[in-house]
Symmetry: C2
Subunit: 263 residues, 2 copies
């Protein structure tokens, strides 16, 4: 932390690795590592007990009280800390304002048995990282049991990590194929619904406690397998001429309805 060595430059191996982890899904999956940045997110990761591989920070971070506290907390957990030049930090960052700190962490390898008792959302080929981030944040806030990501955007895409605002460090998010996910959830006693237009049930008619709901791709909707395997199709009644809700909104309404039924 109070290293006497020169700060890392933009060509240092760890700076390059952080940059790649922010940009390349393949790199994240091969290394089992992911990228985060900003004081708030790194604080949340440490508080959640996430394994942080290392932090890169700007020399002035330690001069701000909150920054100094962060470095202290990371150091106490044995996280390797590296000062980096402003150019190196910019290179390692995903946004233009990484707020003085970029981190590399090891996502937990969640499994179906880690899911909590609340509603589980199965995200069937979701494409928009902003949607996925909001879904994870909303699931945690409203007491959902977790998410299964079946294809589509990588849950450790930096935009998802930012959008989830720390929830991704705490909520079980399982990566699994759709078929295995549906069979595994049913074997664990969950009723499977799929959210889609033209279904027989409104959300308040479905029993969403002890259930999983499949949310389909933003354009194509749920895949045929999901429709075929589901115990029922749940539709949010559309009053206006709009064709569909934003996938993140549709997901949030399901989690809300499950919470209401529980209460």
């Amino acid at each position: 932390m109070s290293s006497h060595e020169a700060p890392l430059g933009p060509k240092h191996r760890l700076v390059q690795q952080a940059r790649l982890l922010a940009r390349e899904r393949r790199e994240r999956e091969a290394a089992g590592l992911a990228h985060m940045e900003g004081v708030r997110l790194v604080e949340e990761a440490l508080a959640a007990g996430v394994e942080v591989a290392y932090l890169l920070y700007s020399p002035d971070l330690a001069e701000r009280p909150r920054g100094a506290e962060l470095l202290c907390a990371a150091s106490a957990r044995g996280v390797p800390l590296y000062r980096a030049t402003p150019e190196a930090l910019e290179r390692a960052a995903d946004t233009q304002t990484p707020q003085g700190v970029v981190g590399v962490f090891r996502p937990r390898p969640w499994a179906l048995d880690d899911l909590g008792p609340g509603l589980v959302l199965v995200l069937d080929n979701l494409q928009d990282p902003g949607n996925l981030g909001t879904v994870v944040r909303t699931l945690e806030a409203l007491g959902g049991g977790g998410a299964v990501v079946a294809g589509g955007v990588d849950p450790y895409n930096p935009k998802v990590v930012r959008g989830a605002m720390g929830s991704l460090f705490r909520l079980p998010v399982v990566k699994l194929g759709l078929d295995a996910a549906l069979r595994g959830l049913r074997a664990r006693g969950r009723r499977i619904y799929v959210a889609d237009a033209g279904g027989a049930l409104s959300p308040w008619e479905a029993t969403l406690t002890r259930a999983a709901v499949v949310i389909g791709n933003e354009g194509a909707g749920p895949s045929p397998l999901a429709r075929q395997e589901a115990d029922g199709v749940v539709s949010i009644p559309m009053v206006g001429p709009t064709e569909s809700l934003n996938a993140g909104v549709a997901a949030a309404l399901m989690v809300y309805e499950a919470l209401r039924q529980q209460a």
Copy 2:
């Protein structure tokens, strides 16, 4: 439409005006005009009977069937059509892919009496155009009565227009100060709730039929006036350690709950 004149160049007055309307709120408010782009949005505006001041289009738009149909429909309504060079269209556009057409329209001057019977959301100094666009889309889809925009982001910001996906051409969206909005809504027989943490009521305990709900600013929450004037504070019960929901999600949950109570 099959004009023999040369297409408009990037310095033409209408191209410059469209560009300014996309970028400057002051220009929109001074002229009472707004900006839209893309085949789908312009189709929705025409279908909704919105007054379109003019369209700028690329020469190749007329060669695509859907583009030709669009120009034909606009022409039948007496909308002035101007071919523009690709450079001019790019200059007039807000995004990098305006899909061959940029339009200028005159938003309807909605008033409180135009609001429908469904739930009304009062957006108290909302800042994020993406949030506002989603809120307008969700309100229309779930049968809300409309929105009152009390300060914050301009509802005719091009990002809101895009995010609302056509709903902004149909749903009543009233621009009004918070004080006048709350008094006017109450005078029209609506109960006023404010969505905030620590309230006495969960959404399913509040009577959201014939009501208005104030949704606060993304960072600061609802303003003191809203808290003071409201008949009750509605809180979405938070289970996880997350501090708050995304404002667009919170708004969507209220409209959903009103729809459920109605049904």
